[in-house]
C-alpha cells in the first residue's frame, strides 16, 4: 500500500526533528530519562538482531537512512537522508544525505558508510550475522556518485522496498570500523545518533549522553538516558509506580496498566494501539493425525476468538481478532469478512458441534496431544492456558508444555512436535513481511506447520511484483483464505500495545510497533 504511494509520485520529506503542533509546550532541555527495557541485548549489533532488546538499547546511538514517521504512520520520513527519489519502474532508489554528519568518534559520515552498511546486511563477511539478507537480495548494486549521494540499483521489483529501507534495524555504521573488524558493532558503539554511548552495566542498565554534534540542530533535548533492564514485570511496574522509571516503551498488559492507573492516577499517561505482533497456533502436518485437514480445522474452529479477545484483553497483551494482516491496517480483512473464515465464527456452539463432528469423522474424537509453548509470562502463557481450555470444551486434551527459549526453539527446529504456539514479530504492516511466514516450509523454515503448498507460494510471488493496490489486496485475501481453509496455522490473537509513561515525559511517539521510535531524540522532560 505504502509502496503504491511511492509510485504515485516522487515524494521527498525534509524533516529534521520538527516539532509538531501537538506538543503545544515548548520543549525543555536537560534532564536524564530513566526508562525500563524489559530484556537485555546480548550484543549491540542492530543488523544481527531480531529483537527490540537490541533496538531499545542501540537505536539512540544510531541513525538510519529513512524511517517511519510515527506521527503519520506508515508514512516514511528521512533520517540521514535529506531527500530521496524512487524511479517509476521501482528499479532505482537515490538518497541525498545530510551534510556535516559526524560519527561519535568525530569522523564525518559519507555515502561510503551507507554502502558499507548495506553491503554488510546483504552480503555479510564471514562470521557476521545478518538475518535480513533475503530482504535486500533484490538489490543489484549500490553506487556512491559523491559523498552525499547513495544510489541503489535493483535486480527485480519489490513493491515494498522503501519500507524495508525504513526498517529500524538498518543502523548506519562507519565503513572504517567495519573495515577494521566486520563484527565491531557487536561490542563497540560508534553511530551518528542523538546520544553517545555511556556505559553498559551488565544485568543492570545502559546509559547514553547527549550527542552535542548531532546533525539535527537543537536535538536531543535530554542530557542523557538510562535504560534499566527489568526482566521481572513486577519489578518494572514497581519501579514505574515508584517513579524510579518514567516509562516502558515496549508495552505492558492491561492488568499492569490498570494497576499503574489505580496507583498513580493522573500522574501516568497511557497510550494504546493495536500491535504489529501476533501469536499463532501451528499444526505440524508431518505428524498424525494433523496431516488430516479435518482435525486441524476442528481445532481451529473450536477457538472462541471473540470471547477470548474480550477476556484475554483484560489480563494479557493479546487483544485483536485478525487475519494475517494486522487488524485495522489498510490491507487487513475487515471483521465481517473475517467471520466467514474457519475459526472466526461468533456462533461458538455451532462451531464446536461442527468441530466435534469433524473430529469424529477423522476418527479421533478424544484427541490428545502436547501443546508446545515458550516459557514467557506474556503473552505465551495466557495463550496456552486459553487454548487448553478451548480444546477441553470439545473433548480434546492438550498437555501444555512450556520450555525455555533454547530448548523450545530446538524442539521446533527438530520438527518433533504436534502443535506449537508460534510468534510473528513485525515492524510494519507490509504484506511482503507478514505473509512470508506462511510460505511453503522449504521456502520459509519458520513455517511451523511444515506444510508444502505451492499455491500459496505462487500467490505470494505474484503479489510481491504487483503494483496495483486492488489486485494486490485480492491476492492477499486469497492467500489468507487458502491458509485458513487448509488450517495449517492461524493467528490466535493480535497483540495490543499499551505504553505507560509518566506525564512529565514529553515528545515520545506511540506507534503500532515497539521496534520503532526508539531513538528518543525528541523526548524531553517537563519538570
Amino acid at each position: 500500500m505504502k509502496s503504491v504511494l511511492g509510485f504515485a509520485g516522487l515524494i521527498a520529506f525534509a524533516l529534521a526533528g520538527a516539532i509538531t503542533p501537538a506538543d503545544a509546550q515548548q520543549p525543555k532541555r536537560g534532564g536524564t530519562l530513566n526508562f525500563a527495557i524489559s530484556a537485555e541485548t546480548p550484543h549491540y549489533d542492530c543488523h544481527g538482531s531480531e529483537t527490540y532488546a537490541t533496538l531499545h538499547f542501540s537505536a539512540p546511538f544510531y541513525s538510519t537512512l529513512v524511517r517511519f514517521n510515527l506521527k503519520k504512520f506508515p508514512e516514511i520520513e528521512g533520517d540521514l537522508a535529506e531527500s530521496w527519489t524512487i524511479a517509476p519502474d521501482l528499479m532505482t532508489y537515490t538518497f541525498k544525505l545530510h551534510q556535516n554528519v559526524k560519527f561519535h568518534d568525530g569522523t564525518p559520515l559519507t555515502s561510503n558508510d551507507v554502502k558499507a552498511t548495506y553491503d554488510r546486511m546483504r552480503a555479510p563477511a564471514k562470521g557476521v550475522v545478518s538475518p535480513r539478507q533475503a530482504t535486500f537480495a533484490d538489490i543489484g548494486t549500490i553506487e556512491t556518485p559523491d559523498a552525499n549521494t547513495v544510489v541503489f540499483k535493483m535486480k527485480a521489483v519489490n513493491a515494498s522496498m522503501i519500507e524495508h529501507f525504513a526498517s529500524p534495524w538498518n543502523c548506519i555504521y562507519s565503513a572504517k570500523d567495519l573495515a577494521a573488524d566486520p563484527n565491531s558493532p557487536r561490542t563497540k558503539i560508534n553511530g551518528t545518533g542523538p546520544y553517545v554511548f555511556g556505559e553498559h552495566v551488565k544485568g543492570s542498565h545502559v546509559t547514553g549522553r547527549r550527542n552535542d554534534n548531532y546533525f539535527k540542530k537543537g536535538l536531543p533535548y535530554l542530557d542523557g538516558f538510562r535504560g534499566v533492564f527489568t526482566l521481572q514485570a513486577a519489578a518494572m511496574l514497581n519501579a514505574v509506580q515508584g517513579g524510579q522509571l518514567l516509562g516502558e516503551f515496549r508495552g505492558i498488559s492491561p492488568a499492569e496498566r490498570d494497576r499503574l492507573v489505580a496507583a498513580m492516577g493522573d500522574k501516568i499517561r497511557i497510550e494504546e494501539e493495536s500491535w504489529t505482533l501476533n501469536l499463532l497456533v501451528a499444526f505440524n502436518v508431518e505428524k498424525k493425525p494433523f496431516d488430516d485437514v479435518r482435525v486441524r480445522k476442528a481445532l481451529l474452529m473450536s477457538i472462541d476468538r471473540w470471547g477470548g479477545s474480550a477476556g484475554l484483553s483484560k489480563i494479557s497483551t493479546l487483544r485483536s481478532v485478525g487475519g494475517l494482516i494486522r487488524p485495522g491496517s489498510p490491507l487487513a480483512t475487515p471483521p465481517e469478512e473475517l467471520m466467514k473464515l474457519p475459526g472466526y465464527s461468533k456462533n461458538m456452539a455451532a462451531s464446536r458441534a461442527e468441530a466435534r463432528k469433524l473430529l469424529t469423522e477423522a476418527g479421533v474424537p478424544n484427541l490428545k496431544f502436547v501443546l508446545h509453548n515458550r516459557n514467557l509470562a506474556q503473552p505465551y502463557t495466557p495463550a496456552g492456558i486459553f487454548l487448553v481450555d478451548q480444546w477441553r470444551q470439545i473433548g480434546v486434551t492438550a498437555d501444555h508444555k512450556q520450555y525455555d527459549t533454547a530448548p523450545y526453539l530446538a524442539t521446533l527446529n527438530s520438527g518433533n512436535y504436534e502443535v506449537a504456539i508460534d510468534f510473528s514479530n513485525l515492524f510494519m504492516d507490509d504484506s511482503t513481511l507478514s505473509l512470508a511466514k506462511y510460505l511453503s516450509f522449504d521456502r520459509s523454515p519458520q513455517n511451523l506447520s511444515r506444510a508444502i503448498d505451492r499455491e500459496l507460494d505462487k500467490l505470494y510471488d505474484a503479489h510481491v511484483r504487483e503494483r496495483d493496490v486492488g489486485k494486490r489486496k485480492a491476492m492477499i485475501q486469497a492467500f489468507e483464505r487458502r491458509v485458513f481453509e487448509q488450517a495449517y496455522q492461524q493467528p490466535i490473537l493480535w497483540w495490543h500495545r499499551i505504553v505507560p509513561t509518566h506525564k512529565v515525559l514529553m515528545g515520545w511517539d506511540m506507534s503500532p510497533s515497539h521496534n520503532l521510535g526508539a531513538q528518543l531524540e525528541t523526548v524531553w522532560l517537563n519538570q
Binding site: A262, V388, D389, R392, H400, Q402, D404
Partner: protein, 300 residues
C-alpha cells in the same frame, strides 16, 4: 543420673503395639500430632480433589476475573477467573505427588548408598563419598536448576519426571551422609558382629539387621525432605522451570502475573504462599517431632 538412663531405654518403641505408639506420640508431641493432622488433610485434599474442590481448577471464566474472596470463591479468583481455592486443593496433589516421589526416590537411593558405603567401607565407601562430595558442592536449587536445564521435560502420567529427578538428586547426598553416619554406628554394633560371626550373607546383614535400624533417621530425613521438596518444587515453578500452566501448582500460582496484582488482587499472592508455607511447616514440624520422639537423646 543412672536412674534416668535406665528408665528410658535407648531402644525405640517397637512396632508391636502401634496403637500405643500413636497415643505415646500424641502425648509427647502434641504439635507434631497437630502437624500430622494438617498433612493428613492435605493428603486427603490431594487424593480426593475432584470431590473436595468446589470448582474445576482449569475452568476459565472471563466474567469472574480477579474476584476478591467471597462465599462463592473462598480464596478469590485469579486473572483467568479460575477459583483459587480449588486450584490450591488441586495444587496439594501436585505438590504431594512431586515431593513424595522425589523425596522417596532421593531418600531411598541416598539411604541405600549410605548403608552400602558404611557396610562395605574401603574403596566403595571412598568412591561413593567422593561422588556425594561432588553433588554436595552444588547449592540445592542450583543443582536442581542444572538438572532441569539438562533434562528435557518428560511427562509420564501427567507428572513431569524430570522435575522429580531434579528435586530428588539434591536430596541423595544429604540423606546418604546422614544414613552413612547412622549405619556406621550400627556397623560396629555387637549385634551386627554377631550376625557376621554367625556367617550370614552381606545382603542379609544389610537388609535384615542394618536397614531396619536406620529406619528412624531415614524417616526423619524423608519427612524433612518432603518439606524441602515442596519448597524446591515451588521455587522451580516460581522460576518458570517446574510445573507448567494450567496445571494447578502453588509455586506457579505465585509466578506469572500474580505479582502484577499486588494491589488489585493480593489474595492471588497470599493464599498460594500460605498453602506452601503451611504444607512445608507441617512437614518440618512433623519431622522435627518425629526426631524428638525417635531420638532418645533429649528424652527426660
Amino acid at each position: 543420673m543412672t536412674a534416668i538412663t535406665s528408665s528410658a531405654p535407648t531402644a525405640p518403641t517397637s512396632a508391636a503395639r502401634p496403637r500405643g505408639v500413636i497415643r505415646d506420640f500424641i502425648n509427647q508431641q502434641p504439635l507434631g500430632a497437630l502437624s500430622f493432622v494438617v498433612i493428613l488433610s492435605m493428603t486427603i485434599a490431594g487424593i480426593f480433589s475432584e470431590w473436595v474442590s468446589p470448582y474445576d481448577p482449569l475452568h476459565i471464566d472471563f466474567a469472574a476475573i480477579l474476584q476478591p474472596p467471597s462465599w462463592e470463591h473462598w480464596a478469590g479468583t485469579d486473572a483467568y477467573g479460575r477459583d483459587i481455592f480449588s486450584r490450591i486443593i488441586y495444587g496439594a496433589r501436585t505438590a504431594l505427588v512431586i515431593s513424595l516421589t522425589s523425596s522417596f526416590l532421593g531418600s531411598t537411593i541416598g539411604a541405600i548408598l549410605g548403608i552400602a558405603s558404611a557396610y562395605f567401607g574401603g574403596w566403595i565407601d571412598d568412591w561413593i563419598q567422593r561422588f556425594m562430595d561432588i553433588l554436595l558442592a552444588f547449592p540445592i536449587i542450583v543443582l536442581a536448576l542444572v538438572v532441569v536445564a539438562a533434562l528435557k521435560t518428560a511427562v509420564l502420567f501427567g507428572i513431569d519426571i524430570n522435575l522429580i529427578v531434579a528435586v530428588a538428586i539434591p536430596i541423595i547426598p544429604r540423606v546418604c551422609r546422614v544414613v552413612r553416619a547412622a549405619a556406621l554406628t550400627i556397623r560396629v554394633m555387637p549385634y551386627v558382629d554377631a550376625a557376621r560371626a554367625a556367617g550370614y550373607s552381606d545382603s542379609r546383614i544389610i537388609f535384615r539387621h542394618m536397614a531396619p535400624n536406620v529406619v528412624a533417621p531415614y524417616l526423619i530425613m524423608f519427612t524433612a525432605f518432603m518439606a524441602q521438596a515442596i519448597l524446591l518444587e515451588a521455587s522451580l515453578s516460581f522460576l518458570g522451570l517446574g510445573v507448567t500452566e494450567p496445571t494447578p501448582a502453588w509455586g506457579l500460582m505465585l509466578s506469572g502475573n500474580a505479582a502484577d496484582f499486588y494491589r488489585e488482587a493480593p489474595w492471588m499472592i497470599l493464599f498460594p504462599g500460605l498453602a506452601i508455607s503451611l504444607a512445608v511447616f507441617a512437614f518440618n514440624l512433623f519431622g522435627d517431632s518425629l526426631r524428638d520422639y525417635l531420638d532418645p537423646r533429649f528424652k527426660v
